[in-house]
């Protein structure tokens, strides 16, 4: 791997490289040991006549596990250090190098961006610093750069942008599209690949975070993608004309929303689609009690309180209630072989939720 050049400071870069290494070790070395421990504890429990069929049963198995305590600690604190270390954390270091941030964001002024200064972020968004990001994604003007830097160490062993490029391949399998909306687009990590994949389409990304949209627009201007624009709006109430898209997507949006906002976002998705239009929301689903236990804990440890409710939600039913006729939930591999049961590494249990508005 090439040396990190996030910051002008070599020390800060070396610290963030250490964080990435620690996160990778956690995912690729510690997690497989935890999984092995689970198999042993499960076998012993079943020999004693105890059934292990739910996440709560798995929690009981790990209630006295030293390994699990360290697993949790590292998951919480590697992330916390990455953001909040007083010495070289992303927030502190970016504040020390504001000119670097300004230079990255300068292109946003020429970018395809429509901000809504009157938009109030939803209450749930204001209430939690998701991912342990101090101030969340909407307060600090440089928050998107912090988020972008943080994302580097979220998916160990996955190449940069690989997940988003593979998502575009899933989209392509559903057809050709000419009017595309990417909800909760963040800094445009999926929106821009969608615009590249469908060069004749008009692609719009919406998000409530102004700083994220500024970075998205800056990147779009820098990479000269002509068919994309960004607009500040809540996915649950975009104020865009009904029936005006043939594809509505999101990646990693739904699990950040409380139940009523998920329902409203699905209803808005359907309202925005023209008849025959397709929606693909990429998020997390798992029926495996071990993975449910891991993900529920991840939600707590990473300040994502709506992750567990989303995994527990009957999504197919929620789609039907939103008026969708056809819904498929398919496992999604963020890299080759990721969904293979023999893959020993920690990962998110991605799923593409594909729905069509027939009429």
């Amino acid at each position: 791997m090439a040396a990190l050049t996030l910051f002008g400071s070599r020390e800060a870069n070396a610290f963030q490289e250490f964080i990435m290494e620690a996160r990778t070790w956690w995912a690729a070395e510690l997690f497989p040991r935890l999984r092995e421990e689970y198999e042993v504890r499960k076998r012993l429990a079943e020999q004693e006549g105890r059934r292990v069929g739910k996440a709560e049963d798995v929690a009981l198995l790990f209630s006295r596990s030293t390994l699990y305590q360290y697993f949790c600690w590292l998951e919480r604190h590697v992330q916390k250090s990455k953001y909040s270390s007083s010495r070289w954390g992303l927030v502190a270091q970016l504040a020390r190098e504001p000119e670097r941030a300004e230079e990255r964001l300068a292109a946003a002024k020429k970018g395809p961006l429509e901000l809504d200064r009157s938009l109030r972020v939803p209450e749930y968004y204001e209430a939690h610093d998701i991912h342990q990001h101090p101030g969340n994604l909407h307060r600090d003007p440089h928050a998107a750069l912090v988020y972008e830097a943080s994302a580097l160490s979220i998916h160990p062993k996955t190449k940069k942008n690989e997940l988003h490029e593979r998502f575009v391949e899933v989209v392509r399998r559903e057809g050709e599209f000419s009017r595309v909306l990417d909800m909760g687009c963040g800094f445009g990590k999926s929106t821009v690949p969608l615009a590249h994949a469908f060069p004749r389409a008009e692609v719009i990304g919406v998000d409530v975070s102004g700083p994220c949209l500024e970075l998205a627009a800056a990147e779009a201007a820098r990479s000269r993608v002509a068919n994309v624009r960004f607009r500040q709006a809540d996915a649950a109430d975009t104020r865009l004309p009904g029936g005006s898209f043939d594809l509505v997507t999101s990646t990693m949006l739904l699990h950040e929303l409380p139940g009523p906002a998920v329902e409203a976002t699905l209803a808005e998705t359907r309202r925005l689609l023209a008849p025959g239009g397709v929606s693909i929301h990429l998020d997390f689903r798992t029926e495996d009690p071990f993975w449910q236990f891991i993900m529920y804990g991840h939600g707590v440890r990473n300040n994502e309180p709506f992750l567990e409710p989303l995994i527990r939600m009957d999504l197919a039913d929620a789609y039907r209630r939103a008026g969708f006729d056809e819904v498929r939930i398919e496992p999604f591999a963020e890299r080759e072989g990721a969904t293979d049961p023999s893959n020993p590494f920690w990962r998110f249990p991605w799923a593409a939720i594909i729905a069509r508005k027939v009429s």
């Binding site: 070396a14 610290f15 604190h77 250090s81 909040s84 270390s85 342990q132």
Partner: protein
């Protein structure tokens, strides 16, 4: 995810070990390890640069005694190191959860 800690209140960091002292201790060990890495990274860069210029014999560094500006610089470094290593001790949140 709000803490129910009756003493610290909502600012209390999550804990995972039976004794929260261990949580904070591991925090110090983790930060210290990061410090060691960053230091070794810098040392490798420095030794490489100096050796390429023929300015330093790495073996002679062992007997040097810092003074003046160098000593002050090392003191500032030491202060930041102590703050970094010990910042896990209060057990407070850095972000709202």
């Amino acid at each position: 995810m709000k803490s129910n800690d009756p003493v610290v209140g909502p600012e209390a960091e999550q804990t995972f070990f039976a004794d929260p002292a261990i949580d904070r201790l591991v925090g110090m060990v983790f930060s210290l390890t990061a410090e060691v890495h960053v230091l070794r990274d810098r040392m490798k860069l420095l030794e490489d640069a100096l050796a390429k210029r023929g300015l330093v014999d790495p073996a002679a560094l062992d007997t040097m005694v810092p003074d003046g500006a160098l000593e002050a610089s090392i003191a500032a470094e030491r202060s930041a190191l102590v703050r970094h290593v010990l910042e896990a001790l209060p057990g407070r949140l850095a972000s709202k959860s």
